[in-house]
Symmetry: C2
Subunit: 491 residues, 2 copies
């Protein structure tokens, strides 16, 4: 498609698809890829009155709970609303609409940031960083320096900041779990770095084996790569596993032994659905065990029970990095001026919710509990449905917002996929979309062990709807196998 | 400072300042550079009760009006507040607090985005893009396709998106005005591209001469560079000039002749303070003259009379780019998921404010008029003060939010600067900061004709304060010349 643009009758080499940055062309982001684009077309067709096999699209491709009807946390939204329109605070009778702690919190925040419409320091408003640091100290039982915190427009912006800074070119490599959240592969591609895959073990519930880390590192080094960082997503995305404390200790030791920076993506830290495991931050384990490595820990307002994706609020803590590196990161952040202030406020609030004795404490706890219980219930329903489907196996999610079932596909389906030059699980997900309106992401978008197929789905449709979604998936699967099957013993 | 981090007793090559991305190290951003960092220290010292020659810092380094007390636009904040806390809309008696059009607007926006906490399409919520496109059509009298609009986290994010996509490496060059807003030099450095300077002519009020564009282009090409884009900032930052229609036509013809993409930074389009010039968008002039080139036009909620910097809201219109390029840009945007929804809402509102006949129309117009008149008045006061200072000349700003006086500096001051290996105008601005608490940006941070010195200051301190600021600057300047002077005839 290397056609030049026609400018005033002259043939010119303006910008074309073929003369763009190679790095941008190579970057892929399946969570918002071709299947989502097709879903958009189908939605349009529905709106235009076209008859399709379903009445509405169900977006299970992305952890976007509020788009599926999840209610926001009341206190968080009250404070945001007051900060955006401070005249409200002085309105007579306002204490009948807003609880006293929302009013006082808003006043305090406005004094700190002056206005939600003013730029803050590039790393974020000092008070918000202080509140986050105190919360991290309570969480971990170890000191947290607010100067080592950066508030960012979503955790993605933090990942961009870090990889942009530590990747110099192809020789610099980052150990990334497979299956992986494509933010990492895409950002590595954009910065011209190398992704070194290490495989999570599906058989053992997607656990992380140090042997596979070591093997991947050794091979990359033999290849002349400089292995600079290790990405660990805990709880896992897309697989939903929660690491054991023992495993975390081994990972830290690995980083110390190998001289590798740990990038701990901990955005699902509030999403745990099992009794026998508790989530601990890598920062806590690192301090407990007196390991000393450079550690980047990320958290976000997009997930958890708050689900404020569209707010673009997040923080990252940078521990054990030289001052000069922090300075360079600060400079890089300043080129985008600052993250949005409402996102900063939301970040401060999820880390510092109403305390016991404050008027909003009970409601916050109620909303939190109800939401987490519902997520757990929905994850169980979905996992059960999937596990009953022929040729499908699933590790019931321990945390996060996703299920990642493995699907065996009949030969004929694999051949159909080959005909359109697509991965077999892409073909499966595309068929599911066309027949049911349910939007999922093929395992190939996250990478996977060769010859295995998966798809990722959130369990975020509301309780009133997830039953119907499960039925639609299961009926589709049956039809799919009828059409392309049967499965062979080896599949 | 190439010290390795000590990890568990072993000397490791973790990340150090010397092993970071060269591109990041090279990027500079003076608007938030060393002088601002020093201001932060001084502020801390004041808070700790230390006696300094001033009682408070005055941040004139950055266009951040609400941090200096500018009131936000009421309607905009009302809609944001309602969207953030939708329960308010149903509150009995709420129509006594919020006007009917704010309530109906909030309902309409919530129906479109579902929640300010939900991700939108990567390019932005369809309704907000539609409202922007209709406003652009009203503004220009030419069609605007909402599919060619991207809503971004501030205009900076748009610039990052574009340059990341069109720059492949050092051979790709972008024509950039000098003095320039350092966003462009920094983003070019981050993407490994080449900045080709073209000089604005200070003598003629910072006008843009096509000859200087052609000269710069020819030289860059002789040097083997591929000149891909031209950045024009209109109204100008940091110089405040407004281009004539004739000049705009010539610039478009230049782009068509030379096969260069035009990046029109038009974020100050509402900040015009002169009677004899009207601002027109490059899109309008391009359509009027039937020129056909790829054009990127940017606008933002951060400036104008709304000044919502911390909101991080903006849009860019991409005209005449091949579909494949738009697709790649869309994919790149999707890697960061979407821009923040409150910023998208603010963008829709500044482009589609309350209409005549709607309850909030009059207040919007009043607030707008008062603010723009006040900005004009303050720009005049500051320019007058500066023009009276010995050795200082200034082009009175026609638009934007800045004055960029030229300062002649005595030899002894230049020598003092050399001693600390800094630019002479850095030394001047640093001295001003230490003595007055006023924070400005040295001309060297924007680049300038060799041997000339400038500084950039906003005229954003409130009306009640700008008089005092002017006096402090003028008194400082006098002392500075007494200390390091006199100026020589040649200075």
């Amino acid at each position: 498609m290397g056609v030049s643009t026609q400018a005033n009758g002259k043939q010119h080499d303006f910008i074309t698809e073929d003369t763009l940055s190679e790095r941008v062309r190579k970057a892929e982001y399946a969570v918002r890829g071709e299947i989502v684009a097709r879903a958009g077309q189908l939605q349009k067709e529905l709106q235009e009155g076209k008859k399709l096999p379903f009445e509405s699209l169900v977006y299970c491709n992305i952890g976007n709970p509020q788009s599926l009807g999840q209610k926001p946390m009341t206190f968080l939204r009250q404070v945001l609303s007051l900060c955006d329109y401070p005249q409200l605070i002085e309105q007579p009778g306002i204490e009948k609409i807003f609880p006293a702690d929302a009013l006082s919190r808003a006043k305090e925040y406005l004094a700190a940031c002056k206005s939600t419409g003013a730029y803050s320091e590039s790393k974020g408003t000092a008070l918000f960083r202080k509140e986050v640091s105190e919360a991290v100290e309570r969480r971990d039982g170890h000191a947290c320096n607010p100067d080592e915190l950066f508030l960012t427009d979503g955790a993605s912006a933090g990942v961009h900041l870090i990889l942009r800074t530590i990747i110099r070119g192809e020789q610099d490599a980052v150990l990334t779990p497979i299956p992986q959240y494509p933010l990492y592969s895409a950002t590595l591609a954009l910065n011209g770095g190398t992704l070194v895959p290490y495989y999570l073990d599906e058989e053992s519930g997607w656990q992380l084996s140090i042997d596979s880390l070591k093997k991947a590192t050794d091979e990359a080094r033999k290849d002349g790569k400089n292995v600079r960082a290790l990405v660990v997503i805990n709880p896992g995305n897309p697989c939903g596993q929660v690491l054991t404390r023992e495993n975390q200790e081994e990972i830290l030791q690995f980083c110390a032994d190998e001289g590798v920076v740990l990038m701990a993506d901990e955005v699902y830290q509030d999403n745990i659905y099992v009794q026998d495991k508790t989530w601990q931050s890598f920062k806590k384990v690192m301090r407990d065990t007196k390991t000393e490595i450079p550690l980047v820990s990320m958290h976000s307002v997009s997930k958890g029970f708050y689900g404020e994706c569209g707010r673009r609020g997040a923080f990252m803590e940078l521990v054990g990095l030289p001052q000069g590196v922090l300075g360079e990161l600060g400079k890089l952040a300043s080129i985008s001026l600052c993250s949005n202030i409402a996102g900063q406020i939301a970040t401060a609030i999820i880390m510092n919710p109403p305390k016991e004795g404050e008027p909003s404490h009970e409601l916050w706890q109620q909303e939190r509990k109800a939401l987490l219980e519902s997520l757990k219930k929905r994850s169980r329903m979905l996992a059960e449905t999937l596990s009953k489907m022929e040729g499908v196996t699933i590790n019931t999610p321990e945390g996060a917002l996703y299920a990642m079932p493995r699907i065996r596909l009949p030969k004929k389906a694999v051949q159909e996929a080959e005909k359109i030059s697509k991965a077999p699980d892409f073909f499966y997900c595309k068929s599911m979309l066309e027949e049911t309106g349910i939007v999922t992401v093929p395992g190939s978008g996250f990478q996977q062990v060769k010859g295995t197929f998966h798809f990722r789905t959130t369990f975020l449709p509301q309780e009133s709807e997830i039953g119907a979604v499960c039925e639609r998936v299961s009926a589709f699967h049956k039809r799919f196998l009828e059409k392309y099957g049967p499965l062979e013993a080896s599949d």
